[in-house]
Symmetry: C2
Subunit: 214 residues, 2 copies
DNA sequence: AGCGTAAGCGTACGCCGTACGCTAAGATGG
DNA sequence: CCATCTTAGCGTACGGCGTACGCTTACGCT
């Protein structure tokens, strides 16, 4: 016994993702990842090109979890499924929000783009409209994910933190911000799902209108 | 002579922003910032709470550059001016894109939110609509800024890099991505300005429609 | 058995953020 | 004018980081 399973890029990336999922990106160091695998830091370099490449591989591995809604006929529900899945994947791996656009696209990122663009193009959108629609959807997903992650990420008690923020806020000078924060704290009707869908629908309505008008 | 101007939070933050503007966030260390001011690292701690607080101060300082379009009567042109100004500020300080949502909002961030929300609310949008409109505009600005910054940030010759990317791409498997990248490379009709406005108009059209329908 | 190849790792270097405590200069009160 | 207090600046040091370099060990060949 005691012959450990050998290292591989796959195992290293998986260990790094696990570390990042609980502990954030800052918990990922060559030494900590190696320790997770009962190895030493320098051993990783046989399988991975360095820390930057490791992070890129982590990102692409996680993007592979996204549902690309490949058999979906209707373009709008396809885009909806992809967008929601992408959002959920990012929220499941909160560290993604900081970095997913910061590195050169890997294969899964390209497949994600292809799936979204394909849905728009086959749905009858022009090249130019599809171009902007892709960016709009990506921005929406990433923006919402960042907002959610930063809200309940560093903060375990959202309510408490929100109240504290409001206390420090000058409500005379910033009444609308106060209003906005209160809305984030209202639990019932404005849950994540409807918030996300509201913006996405608004956006896809616009795309649909432009699609029809050519 | 030779009595240097004393340190202060303001001077430290300004020096750090300068370093980040040319050299990226990674060029900002307590030692490098101190060196920029002819001082030593530990001296900074008399005026700044540590690196994290320094970065937060850098962000808020830069957000103070945004034009808040305060005297603007028409809500739509006000939002447009604010959004474009914010976009330009981020592009002017490319390191902002990585971090601007990652820290707790400072006073300038709050003023930015207040300006946008005020424009929507005074323009006749409901609380809920203004809430979503704010997020949508923020996402649009940040998303576009990130896209632009990552495109021409690490890449001095955009054209060359795009062609190289296309070479490595399997155009059979990803025809729409190829199309999309080509569109990014086309210089003339699709410049930054019109790209940014196209998405923003699409978005504000949606807001306007919902505003009218109540 | 001998050998080539490659996986794993020990050591060391130059960075980083920052805790701790000293020095020296200026402010304050007599 | 001196004594005392405050505070800006900094020297040193510690633990952690990414990684260059080269050694060792294990394994698959012939």
């Amino acid at each position: 016994m005691s012959t450990r399973t050998p290292l591989s890029e796959e195992r290293i990336v998986a260990a790094a993702v696990d570390l990042a999922d609980d502990g954030g990106l800052e918990a990922v160091s060559m030494r900590s990842v190696a320790a997770e695998l009962d190895a030493r830091a320098m051993s990783l370099y046989r399988h991975v090109d360095g820390k930057e490449a490791l992070v890129a591989a982590m990102i692409d591995a996680v993007l592979g979890e996204i549902d690309l809604a490949e058999a979906e006929a209707d373009w709008r529900t396809a885009v909806g499924r992809i967008a929601r899945s992408a959002y959920e994947v990012i929220v499941r791996h909160p560290w993604m929000a900081q970095v997913w656009l910061a590195v050169r696209p890997g294969i899964h990122r390209i497949q994600l783009m292809e799936a979204l663009l394909g849905a728009f193009r086959r749905g009858g959108c022009s090249r130019r409209l599809s171009h902007h629609a892709l960016h709009a959807v990506q921005n929406h997903v990433l923006g919402h994910a960042i907002t959610k992650v930063t809200f309940d990420g560093a903060i375990e008690d959202l309510e408490e933190e929100g109240r504290r923020f409001l206390e420090g806020l000058d409500e005379e000078a910033h009444p609308y911000v106060a209003e906005h924060v209160v809305e984030h704290l209202e639990p019932s009707d404005g849950d994540d799902r409807s918030d996300f869908d509201f913006g996405l629908d608004l956006l896809l309505d616009g795309v649909e209108r432009l699609r029809r008008s050519g």
